[in-house]
């Protein structure tokens, strides 16, 4: 067996080009670069962007893959690691923050969790709105860099309710299997879950749920569980077993740079342009799309401002990034004909997080890769699918942590404010209330069945017992069949496509990345077959 970490060896001409940018560009003055005919840009390198890049490249198309974050595969390790642990954050942890901002703000009501860090182009970012914080990944691989890898195919009945415009038969026969295969989804290692100390927290929570008559679900993951077995034994460098998750994962996790993006890059037709933010999109009179881009270095220093021109643009910047680009284009009038449905149908996938006092040991060692959930899901508004999440504090807190995904009927709407040049979200506590209510009903039952257990209210902001102000799973904003046609091409704007979580209206009942990947596979098949590129 070989455990050498494979690093991409492909030369990325874009990075070199950026380093050798003309003087006027370096000075911050816009320069115009013409992409030529049939030039295709993909904005964002998460799940949708990766699928689009691979599909187009394998179809013989040359594409520019523009990513505002770091190309982590090219970063030099520090003390053997590219990414940081949750307990030793650095500039690599968060996107230009001077302090970490983790989901748990407090411990015992005290400000012990977050740490001061240097500013840099770190892996985890937070998009802040008035009543909502949205966690997003930054870097080649997007959200795949910072999530827990829980790879869940939604219940078909719920998928059909959320996306009735999509042929579920085809999705479940063709595209979900293809997505799971491409993402290297595998079942959790039951021997590690049941026999190792690293999942005691999950076993305790599952046992307490069982006493309440609530069943568990083993949750597939993209993590390599053979690697984890060796981590248990200290035979390989640790990542999941050494507090790596939301700030990136060095080993074990098959994030996109090791799977779909790797295949895309192997074609030699994908030109990766990292550290480059697309600030705006304009449609030129002759029909081409002009992207105003800003390239920075890791410390945030400006490398160049530039105008790039393309004939086709695939928006895969995630629910927030894509919606912002579309709304700003609509609001500033740089693209005519954008549909009114842009910005609508947004939701946090019913996310609400909570913690329980277990009154029994949960273990001072906790793997950061969740493998189990609790579920009563029946598609009603009482439905809850709760991930049993780790709390890798390094001490035994006798605490169970859960990310509850609920069937919240509310949706939010983004609007563009021309004065501030910012996007606003109308989501508030009243929108989140059905999620909190469903989660409380679900966990009250577990607490009642386990005397002495109860909620912790000393971890979240404002001493909330149920978080209603952050999400890991932003969905919607450019919903399939409403803002776009049934293949993801924006209505009224030929040549502009959406290929990410924006297409899914508000919720999907499980961690969404498998659905985003499968939907992108479906849409890209149709678009390429229809010669839309």
């Amino acid at each position: 067996m070989s455990f050498n970490i494979t690093r991409r060896t492909l030369l990325k001409a874009s990075a070199i080009a950026a380093a050798a940018a003309p003087a006027d560009a370096v000075s911050g003055q816009p320069a115009v670069a013409t992409g030529g005919s049939n030039r295709i840009a993909i904005i964002g390198s998460g799940y949708g962007g990766a699928v689009a890049a691979r599909k187009l490249a394998q179809a013989g198309k040359q594409v520019d893959l523009i990513e505002m974050g770091t190309d982590w595969e090219k970063m030099s390790p520090i003390k053997g690691r590219i990414f940081t642990t949750m307990t030793s954050p650095s500039a690599r942890s968060m996107w230009f923050k001077t302090r970490t901002d983790m989901p748990f703000s407090y411990l015992g009501g005290m400000d012990l969790v977050n740490r001061r860090i240097d500013r840099g182009a770190g892996a985890l970012d937070i998009e802040y709105f008035a009543n909502m914080k949205v966690y997003v990944g930054r870097g080649i691989g997007g959200g795949s860099l910072v999530n827990g890898g829980m790879a869940v195919t939604p219940r078909r009945s719920f998928f059909e309710k959320v996306l009735p415009q999509v042929d579920a038969e085809e999705m479940y026969n063709v595209y979900f299997p293809r997505a799971n295969s491409g993402l290297r989804v595998n079942d959790p290692a039951m021997d590690v879950v049941m026999n190792s100390p690293w999942y005691q927290f999950a076993r305790v929570s599952a046992d307490q749920a069982k006493r309440a008559g609530i069943g568990h679900v083993m949750v597939p993951n993209v993590y390599d569980f053979d690697y984890m077995r060796k981590e248990v034994y200290g035979q390989v460098p640790r990542s999941a077993l050494d507090k790596q998750v939301i700030f990136g994962n060095d080993y074990g996790k098959n994030s996109l740079p090791k799977t779909i993006l790797k295949e895309a890059l192997a074609t030699g037709r994908v030109n990766v342009i990292p550290m480059t933010e697309v600030r705006s999109i304009e449609r030129a009179p002759e029909g081409a799309f002009r992207l105003q881009t800003k390239t920075i270095d890791f410390n945030g220093n400006l490398i160049e401002n530039r105008t790039r021109e393309y004939d086709r643009v695939v928006l895969a910047a995630g629910s927030i990034g894509t919606t912002r680009l579309l709304l700003s284009a609509q609001g500033e009038g740089t693209i005519n004909g954008l549909p009114d449905a842009i910005g609508r149908g947004w939701g946090p996938n019913g996310n609400t997080m909570l913690a329980r006092r277990l009154r029994t040991r949960s273990g001072w060692r906790q793997s950061t890769i969740p493998v189990m959930g609790l579920s009563n899901w029946d598609d009603s508004t009482d439905s809850v699918f709760a991930e049993i999440a780790p709390f890798p504090a390094g001490i035994d807190l006798r605490t169970g942590v859960y990310l509850a995904l609920t069937n919240n009927p509310h949706t939010g709407t983004f609007t563009w404010n021309r004065g501030s040049q910012k996007m606003f979200l109308d989501w508030g506590p009243s929108h989140a209330e059905p999620s909190v209510r469903a989660a409380q009903k679900f966990f009250d039952r577990i607490n009642r069945a386990n005397p002495g257990t109860g909620y912790r209210s000393d971890l979240f902001e404002k001493h909330k017992t149920f978080s209603d102000y952050f999400t890991y799973h932003p969905l919607g904003g450019a919903v399939l069949g409403e803002a776009t046609d049934l293949q993801g091409e924006v209505k009224g704007v030929p040549g502009l496509f959406v290929m990410d979580g924006s297409l899914i209206p508000a919720k999907i009942g499980v961690n969404p990345f498998v659905t985003i990947t499968a939907l992108a596979e479906r849409n890209m098949d149709r678009l390429v077959d229809a010669q839309r590129f």
């Binding site: 049941m194 190792s196 077995r229 060692r365």
Partner: protein, 190 residues
């Protein structure tokens, strides 16, 4: 922390291939069978015996341990005398440290058609095995594991890693290696 510790052991075995199909390759898979679990109470099911001594019948402890290793011919050629290796390492459960006695939990097999050779060194209990006979495409052979410790042996709660490899001519495929983690609550034999 060397990956060398996990390199496929070099084996000198007779993994013969019929001459008529020299362009084809044998393709074998190995599975370490899951230890038993108690899903009703979410804990290891400690029912696999660990014997006192290699041939004794006195049980020193019971654990949630892989009961066997299964070799399956997943190719299209009959494999002759399939062979491979097994490694068993124990690790402290309570303190996340390598055990001071990593190779003291040993194993044999009760399958008389399997030639089982002890190659243990300081890092763990190691064995080579050869399953005598032919294994046709689609067929499997089980190698039941019989765990034992030699007294005196005293050890608090520990995990057990059972790693198995099988040799074939289909190099580099994922199913030539299998790992499972077991658990033993404690052992005390004198």
């Amino acid at each position: 922390m060397g990956s060398a510790a996990w390199a496929v052991p070099v084996l000198v075995t007779a993994n013969a291939v019929p001459a008529v199909a020299s362009s084809m390759k044998t393709d074998l898979a190995v599975d370490v069978v899951d230890p038993p679990y108690d899903l009703d109470h979410w804990r290891p099911k400690d029912e696999v015996p660990v014997y006192r001594g290699p041939r004794g019948h006195r049980i020193a402890a019971r654990g949630s341990l892989p009961p066997s290793i299964r070799i399956t011919n997943v190719g299209r050629l009959t494999a002759v005398d399939p062979s491979g290796s097994v490694e068993i390492i124990i690790r402290d459960y309570g303190n996340d440290r390598a055990s001071s006695a990593p190779g003291r939990l040993k194993a044999g097999t009760t399958n008389p058609s399997v030639m089982w050779t002890d190659t243990t060194n300081q890092s763990g209990a190691k064995y080579k095995y050869t399953c005598r006979g032919e294994l046709r495409p689609g067929q499997s052979i089980d190698i039941p594991l019989r765990y034992f410790v030699n007294p005196p042996f005293l050890h608090a709660e520990f995990n057990v890693l059972v790693a198995a490899w099988v040799e074939d001519q289909q190099e580099g495929d994922y199913d030539d290696n299998s790992l499972r983690i077991g658990h033993v609550p404690w052992i005390s034999v004198f």
